[in-house]
Each structure stands twice: as structure tokens, then as C-alpha cells.
Symmetry: C2
Subunit: 383 residues, 2 copies
Amino acid sequence: MISKSSLYHVVEAMAPLYVAMGLGYASVRFRAFTPEQCAGINHFVALFAMPLLIFRMISSNDPYAMNLRFIAADTIQKAAILAALALWARLSARGSLAWVVTLFSLATLPNTIIMGVPILRGMYGSMSSTLMVQIVVLQFAFWYVLVVFLFEYMAAQRVLVAKQQQAAAPAAVVLTVLDGDQQINASAVVPVTEGDRDADTNTEAATPPPPADAAASMTAPSVKLILLMAAKKILKIPSIHASMLGLVWSFIAYREGIKLPSIIDDSVAIISVSATGLATFSVGTFMAQQSRFISCGYSVASLAMAMRFLVGPAVMAASSLAVGLHGDLLHVGIVQAALPLAVISFVYAKEYNVHAEIMSTGVIVGTFASFPITIIYYILLGL
Amino acid sequence: MISKSSLYHVVEAMAPLYVAMGLGYASVRFRAFTPEQCAGINHFVALFAMPLLIFRMISSNDPYAMNLRFIAADTIQKAAILAALALWARLSARGSLAWVVTLFSLATLPNTIIMGVPILRGMYGSMSSTLMVQIVVLQFAFWYVLVVFLFEYMAAQRVLVAKQQQAAAPAAVVLTVLDGDQQINASAVVPVTEGDRDADTNTEAATPPPPADAAASMTAPSVKLILLMAAKKILKIPSIHASMLGLVWSFIAYREGIKLPSIIDDSVAIISVSATGLATFSVGTFMAQQSRFISCGYSVASLAMAMRFLVGPAVMAASSLAVGLHGDLLHVGIVQAALPLAVISFVYAKEYNVHAEIMSTGVIVGTFASFPITIIYYILLGL
């Protein structure tokens, strides 16, 4: 049974995040900040604050002392959901790679860094921070890389299908066109909504072609080129860059028993400490700039919320029990799976123009809904 | 004698500030941020991060346990320099109120919050943070208020003199005009340099009229109106607002033995922790946006540096010895007086168009010069 004082402790951990978000929301609504000024803050978060926070988290995590069961549970959850979605896409006429990626992101990619670490620490103490960092390592070193790769793959498909409908064009040319068209904006946590940055790209994306047809028609060299191109783009995303660097450093540091000199650590920290406040502020400005909170219709919004707050945590509970987790480890796993959708998932969806309106709704509604939902999970698990 | 390890400790404390500044400088130079985006970050610092940091510092300072000797030394230093400058302005033909305010700011208003607290803590431990906060309290609750009042007074004088040269105009009308013309931009730590915000205000400010003439010609009601107007504007400056609120709260809290609930304290902290990194980043972007580092000529720049790094600390040393300070207290007093010029002094000079180019040079050159100078003071005092 959760005591009133520990429940207050959780509200205490969540409140500052909502205050920062409210400040961002009010700043736009009361015109204290122009959209371009908001973009400046957002850009600072994406280019400096977030990558440095991720680097600091991952580089200070001992990779030789990770909780393998906990990681296994997290990996099984994500892999199981991905496999189930892929199977559905093969069998159902309505299935498509775009839906697979969208539903996968919704179900398995919560906001671990900005919201997860403080909230879970409020609930289960500092051991949960260590566990969250382990999930962050895998999220940035593997799962986001996979998501970006799938987006790249779809983008290439769209171009290939369009070209093949016209005539046979050499794959290399197609890919050059692609490279120019679809620049990952490596510097946005929250996109500038009034911009018409992606107005000209892929208006046909609303109904992407079923993946099986196009995949079959892709030749071996083009797949290799897509792989190369995706790798190149992924390495341009500062957060992924930072997580790789942090991971490499952590493997060296914890084997050799060395630490980052505090002059470097402090220089990273002076910027990275701003990430949580600025990122949540930025989400607030993003919400205020949207014309509607629910831009994808109520039934799709309900599906998105169900994926985020029911399917994700339920599959995490099952996979945790399957690998033998119990007690606080089990609870941390389930509660973190019920956090709001990571904003970065929306950023990618927007960049590649794949169900961006669903992801926007997922972030906005999910962030509001998560306040009671996270607490309900916490109370239920404490019974 | 200062040991090598404690010297390294000081460099360690200063380095992150220069890294954040370098990041800001590079961001503008390599066009990673547009001027408007920089303005967004700067605006965030001035509107939220700095005021909340000031509030947090001052509200957690016990006003009943302040070191009265230390405060007396600081007050005597500032009052003595102001008196000497006022005397010079009366006696010398070249003296003017504009020069009094400029030289006073240069000599007595160092960057205590952003640079002072971390650097002094690196040198003399956490007791110096407490002392710095006591100086911050007086800086924001009294000295900046005085500086802003003097700027308002000069602005009103200029308008009055101009009007009197034309004809006799009612003071109230003059002041209404003034109010519209000279809005304090309450939301800038570092002004947006490419803006033409102040291009149309007071181009005659380069040669302000000698204060005695105009002051004599001002009637009693106009002085009262200026006072009222200045008070109104001062209360619109978020940092001064925040320091007053913090001061009131500290008097209540430490008398009643109560603390801010941590849900409020954490909500303030989530934003205030970003102040140091963002403010120094912002100074870096400001430097990169200037066409020249030294915009006021070498002889005036030398005068500015002498006021900042020699006169200020020397008078502080004298006043500290006069009130009987010795040991670390004496050293903290002298070293903090040799910190670089506070950016906010430049902001005011720019807003009121009074010797802004000198203050710009003071901030830029002073920030570079302070790295060796602060360390030299530290070493000399440790002998």
C-alpha cells in the first residue's frame, strides 16, 4: 500500500515538469515569445542540452553492471510488439509499414530522459534512475536508430514507387534526389509549426503504399544505398551521436577505472542541467502553437492512448514476469512503460511526414493523461 | 601560498563558464543559430531563468544572519566611488551625470550571480557563496535601482532641456512622451544587436548636457513624476521584481522558521538551474554579433579596464580594511570586486543609449581579461 506521503512525493516530482510546460504554453499564448524565439530555445535543446544530457547519463552508466533481466524485459517488450505489428501488416489489408512504425513508437517509446528519470526517482528512489539510464542506452543506441532507418526505408520506397510508375530510373539517381528532398532536421526537438518546411515533400505520404509490393521491387544495390544513407543521417542526429560517444566512453572508463576529469564533466553539466527545464518548456510552446490538441480524430486518438497507456505497459508487465522480475524492478518497468510519448518520436514522424498528426496528439494528450495515469499505475502496483 | 591543486580548482570552476560562452560564440559564427533564435534564448534568460535564480538565491539567504562588516565594506566601496565621481562631475568641466553612472557601473557592479558564485566557491569554499548572495541582495535591491533611476533622470532631463529650448511645455506632457519613447526592455540580458530598436531614440545622447543646469531648471512636480515613473519601470524589470519578492520572503521565512514547500522550490529550480549555462551562452552569442570587440577606442577601453580591475578592487580593499575585515573575508571581497562587468549594466546603458559602446567593451574585454586577472588576484592574496 502506497502511503499518502510517498504519493505526495510523486506529485512533487511531476509538478515542476508541468510548471515548466505551463510556462512555455503561457509564454506563447500571451505572446511573450515569438515562434522564431521558441524555435531558438528548441534548437538549443536539440543541438546542445539534450545530447549533452544523454552523453552525461550514458557515460556515467556502468555498462558492465547493467541489470540484464531488466534490459531483457525491455527488449522483449519492444521486439514482441514490433513482431506482432509486422505480422498484422502482412496479414491485414489495412496494415502498412507506416502504421507499424507509428504504433510501435506509440507503444514502446516513452519519454524516459526528461520525465522518466525525475518521476521514477520520486517513486522508487535513486536505483530507478540507474535502471532508466539502461533503458535510455538501448533506446538511443538501438531503437531510435531502427525507427529512423524504417522512416528512411519508407521514404526511399515512396520515391522508387513513384519513379517506377513513370519509367525505369537508375537507383543511384533516385537516391540522390531523396537525399536532397528529405534532410533530417537534426536540430529540432519540437518542430516549428508555422514553417512550411515540409509542405513540399511527399504529399502522397498520407496513404503510403503497402510495403510488400515495393520491397519486392527494390534491387539489392538500392537497399545497400538506403542503409548507407540512413547511417549517414543517423550520425547527424546529435542525440544519437552523443549516446554512441557516451557508450564508447563508458566501456573504456569502467574497464580502466577512470573518470571524466571534472573540468570536462562540469563543462558538460553547465549546459546539460538546462535540458529538463528547457525541453518541457519547449513542449509547452509546441502545444500552444497547435491549432488543435487532437488533430487526428477521436477514434485514432483513443487507439494512440490505448497503445501508449495499456498495450505498452501490459506487454512490459508480461515480458518482465516472463524473465522473472518482481518487486520494485517489475514496478519500475511497468510505470516507465506508461510515461507519455517521447517528443522525439513526434519529431521524426513530422520530418518524414508519416502520421505526424497522430504523434502530435500522442504527445499532447498523452502528457496531460499521464499525470493521473502514472499515479494510478503507481498506486495499483503498490497495493 | 596557494597550492597548485587549489589553483587548478579555480580554473576548474571558471572553465565551464568559458566553454558555455565559446559554444554561444561558435553557434553564431557557424550560423547554427539565427540572431532571432539567440534573442529567444536571451529573452528566456532575462524573463525566467535569471529572475528565478535571483529569487532562489535571495530567498534562501538568512537576512538576520548577514555579515554586517562585509556588507558595510561593500556599501562603503560603492558609496565612496559614487561620491568621488559626483564630486569630480561638479568640479570638472568634462564631468557629467552620464560619465558618473558609466564609471560607477564599471567600478562597482561585477558579475556576481553568474560568474561570482561558482568562481568564488571554487576559491574559498561554500562560505563565499553565502557572502556573494549578500552582495547580490544589495545589488538588486538597491544599487541597480539607483542606476536605473539615474538613467531615468537623465532621460527626463534630455527631454526637458530639449523642450525648454523650444518653449515652455507642461512637465506632464513631456513625461508622457518620455514614457512612450523610453520603454525599458525588461526582457533582455543581452540586446539584439541587429535590431534598430533604439535607432530612433535620443541620438543627442552622445553628448548629454551637464546635469547641474538642467537639474536646477526642473520643477518640484517633475522630479516627483520622474520618481514615480522610474519606480513603475523598475518594478517591470523581472530581476528586480524577483529580488524584492525573495527579500520579503526571506524576512518572513527566517523569522517564522518556515521554508518554501519543495514542490515550489523544485518548480523554481527546474528553470533557474539553466540560468548560468544559458546566460554565459548568451554572452557568447552577443560577442559574436558585435562588429568589433573594442568599439569605444583603446584609451577609453583602458580607462574602463582600470576602473573594473584596479579602482574597484583597490577601493574595496581599502573599505574592507577600514571596517576591519581580514583573512578569507577580505580576500573574497577583493576578488569579487575584480570579476568581469555584469552584463545587465550594458543592457541598461544600451536601453538608455548612454555610453553603450564603453559598456559593450567592458563586458567583452573584461570577460577575457578576468580569466588571468582573477587568478592573479587570487594568487597575490594567497601569498
